[in-house]
């Protein structure tokens, strides 16, 4: 079971991420027991069957980088968890997907970054609205993950608006003009 970061702390995770292997069919694949995060394709193929589980808080959906989050528009209020997959850490589509889920589609539940999630991206991921960060299992030792918590606060006052601070610095703080400041 992997560790996740939530609310600035390390937690043991209770969810299993289901990924389709070659030959697996979205319509027929067996779901693991317990809380499970299924691919969008599985959700779309079996929405009727899975909706009660989502409403019971034990089923979430994950999106790949090329999937449009608007595909979930009608379901977001029922889903306790949406995850976005980072196939490579340098593939930045997930940041825009998260931003759209939070700002455009009004998603308020758990938003989780999964896949190739690295410590050096934590700060950006949080800014784009992820509430849970899940590095690949075994990527970090417990000690490294604890140390990585420091990365959550790399920058104290970022300039631009993003999901976590929806106003840019110039609206959040009164920044002084030059006059009256020691050069």
């Amino acid at each position: 079971m992997s560790d996740i970061i939530k609310n600035g702390r390390v937690h043991a995770d209770e969810w299993t991420v289901l990924r389709l292997a070659e030959g697996d069919e979205a319509a027929t694949i067996a779901l693991p027991a317990g809380r499970v995060i299924v691919p969008l394709a599985v959700w779309q193929a079996r929405r009727e069957e899975l909706l009660p589980k989502a409403e019971a808080g034990v089923l979430g959906v994950w999106l790949a980088g090329n999937e449009n989050p608007a595909a979930l528009t009608a379901d977001l209020s029922a889903l306790p968890l949406v995850a976005v997959d980072f196939p490579k850490f340098a593939d930045g589509r997930g940041y825009s997907i998260a931003t759209l889920l939070r700002t455009r589609l009004g998603y308020g539940g758990e938003l989780r970054a999964i896949g190739n999630v690295l410590r050096d991206q934590f700060f950006f991921l949080l800014r784009c609205g992820f509430s849970v960060l899940q590095p690949q299992e075994g990527k970090y030792t417990p000690a490294q993950l604890d140390a990585a918590l420091a990365s959550l606060n790399d920058f104290s006052e970022p300039y631009q608006a993003a999901v976590d601070r929806p106003e840019p610095l110039f609206r959040r703080q009164s920044r002084r003009p030059l006059q009256g400041e020691a050069a």
Binding site: G92, Y95, I97, D120, R127, E157, Y159, P177
Partner: protein, 562 residues
Amino acid sequence: MYQYDEYDQRIVDERVAQFADQTRRYLAGELTEDEFRPLRLQNGLYIQRHAPMLRIAVPYGNLNSKQLRTLGHIARTYDRGYGHITTRQNVQFNWPRLEDVPEILDQLAKVQMHAIQTSGNCIRNVTSDPFAGVAADEIVDPRPWCEILRQWSTFHPEFAFLPRKFKIAVNGAKEDRAVIRVHDIGLDIVHNAAGELGFRVLVGGGLGRTPIIGEEVAAFVPWQQILNYCEAILRVYNLHGRRDNAYKARIKILVKALGVPEFARQVEEEFAHLKDGPSTLTQAEIDRVAGRFNDPVLSALAQDAGYRARLAEDKAFAAWARRNVRNHRVQGYASVVLSLKPYGVAPGDLTADQFDAVAELADRYAFGEVRSTHEQNIVLASVREADLFALWQEARAIGLATPNIGLLTDIISCPGGDFCALANAKSIPIANAIQDRFDNLDYLFDIGELEINISGCMNACGHHHVGHIGILGVDKNGEEFYQVTIGGDQGNQTTLGKVIGPSFAAAEMPDVISSLINNFIDNRQDDERFIDTVRRIGVESFKTRVYAERTARLEAKEIAHV
């Protein structure tokens, strides 16, 4: 220039700490090579031919004397005694040790400098007109807008891992000196029919492997909305730009694939959601940023009689003034270009002592401020006419007064094979060989305005496509050859040059340039510039001349060997 406030300083300080820790973890083996690469690139750190190469941001080319002295210190202490002004107005060092980079960044932070986003697949350092704020043809000073864009793009969390690099340039004058048409986003500050200020937005320009001139996607975006509009562009690109092939990942490929109308439609759709949102700019914010530029307050001076007398008396001074001095919007002042293209030096190189000496000149004659230019020179923006003669003498003493700005020897060149691991061929020795051939000043003046741009490979760091004469290093069976284009141009009429034919060996290049020039001289009408003659008579006659003379040379050589 812009003065940091406590927030600007804190972000840079926090960056120094962050990168020091990332470097430490990399050296300790906690970060893999692959994981560290994008992190160091976003901090301007390449691994190059000899050592890491560190690119330091010079936002829209603005530097003060304190910063110049720090750059001199870095050149002297951590490098081999020189640094390099790049075609994106930044400063590059070729020999620092990775272990020293955190310390270098710490020293830069103390003078309000950094290496943030000078490289990597993020929004790069914003570039602009080196004469911003002082140009006689300026409509609006672009610098506060550049600074606003700089702040917005710095560690933008959504756009730190784009499909590819992303470059924004801003122009605020009638004549575009920022080459906005070859940038991912080119912003032209304009007024609409109602007299309101806004931006004409060009997207999808760029050179490299697939050179394309940017196209207009919005004729007018009100200034209040410019961050929202840029965000819309970036989001469409981030979500839909290609990631399967690095050569096809720039926004220009997406714009081409969708077509401008469809691309513009997608941007508009995104923009509709962002318009009037929290990133909408306010007059108070513009005023605040503009107010943090501590520009000298200049009032018109009487024209300087001494200056005029010197011009009449001293031929060398007059030649320099004609080429290297530009009109200023305030009477009695001028802008000066220090040439970093003396004979035999890599275009754009400055020694540590020259960094210090330029700082000295800036303090004494130019209110402590300079600009770097994409032509790889340095501008002193505001100099009293009365000081020009003394300034010239001192600039001459440090080798920065070659009167060749805009002339054939003012060559733009990438570092090429001497430094760059991607190069197909050397660039600097070609530049030097051409400078050597044309070392007669009277002849240079006679040839007139001419831009030669050299790139060591198709990445086009030397902007060869937009040189009046462009030279591109190519590899043929492991040997270095050079392909020549003519008719390229930057500015309001940005044009991509046309290839004249098969490539040449390095040793032929000065002769090839001579043939081109001779054909121009024979065909020019009145005071036509090279580029105008090319436009008027076409490429063919140049091509014929170059290859005919080449054949004659080769035959003469064979006869000599019989």
